[in-house]
């Protein structure tokens, strides 16, 4: 049976939606398991049969997203700007989720995971010649700017579209990376 019991789907979905709404309202740290229970109208014991704790619920929600995201990010060429653009597009298509997961309101847990995912991806595809600056630092640079811009967009309610954000990213990031990878 590849598809779960309907009740399970309902419960998990309800818990996840309640969590997102509550994160948006008062921030991940201030959300309590009891809050989620009340909002989703789910029994306490039921919650703990599905998730070990609040963080597990968050990560389950994140994993559902990140599986799709990995697909899109994996298909990009070895251009350091591509992952960022794919991520921006992806975020714009799922604004509600990103509003809860990234930005000020989301916990640092998701930020850490996102950062690690991006870092690994960039490390894998940035195996270039002798850069002036260690590849590790270049990757750190790309990751920080990507997540920084994304967070900015999220916290400002996605004021422009994904293409605009990608253009800004290219303008700001590419010159530096180019200068470092091709020593003058």
């Amino acid at each position: 049976m590849v598809q779960q019991d309907r009740r399970v789907r309902r419960t998990r979905r309800g818990l996840q939606e309640a969590l997102f709404a509550l994160i948006f309202e008062k921030g991940y740290d201030r959300v309590t398991v009891q809050d989620v229970l009340d909002r989703a109208d789910v029994g306490r014991s039921t919650f703990y049969t599905h998730f070990r704790d609040k963080e597990a619920l968050l990560l389950a929600a994140f994993d559902a997203l990140s599986e799709d995201l990995r697909g899109e990010l994996g298909a990009v060429a070895s251009d350091p700007a591509r992952p960022a653009e794919a991520l921006f597009r992806f975020a714009y298509e799922r604004q509600p989720a990103f509003r809860a997961l990234c930005g000020k309101q989301g916990g640092e847990v998701v930020q850490r995971h996102l950062r690690r995912m991006l870092t690994e991806l960039l490390m894998a595809q940035l195996c270039l010649g002798k850069p002036v600056v260690p590849a590790e630092v270049v990757v750190e640079f790309c990751t920080s700017t990507t997540l920084g811009l994304l967070g900015w967009a999220v916290d400002n309610g996605f004021p422009h579209d994904a293409a605009w954000l990608a253009a800004a990213y290219r303008r700001l990031v590419e010159p530096g990376v180019r200068a470092v990878l091709r020593p003058a």
Copy 2:
């Protein structure tokens, strides 16, 4: 009386040092008030006469630093790379504190404050002509890279000196900023 009671100094200092050590050992989130009390050998009630909660203790420690930091950052010219360099130098002079406050182990509280401080500073001194990209985004870019590099240095035990970090920063960040501030 400009100087406090010696007992007060001793207590506050002990609490702060205990907090830093514990953050370094197991990360801010996992540090409990009781841990700090035991480590500093201070009574529970004493703690709460000094600080409202764990976060207040952290912020008091941070404020002591940030006062000095503001001084150094305030004196820089309107070159967007200067604040970063000053911050790097400052961090290298107080590695133990930054190991606790920034990096993976430190809570996101300090990160938020540092980010806000940097953002405000850069916003104030980056009042330039019509940039291709909103100044807000440029500032976000600079802030993210500065904190990103700093976090990297902290988490890797300050592998190079401040000048090296500043040079890497300039190489990576300046080309993009220049390209954006002076439309081709």
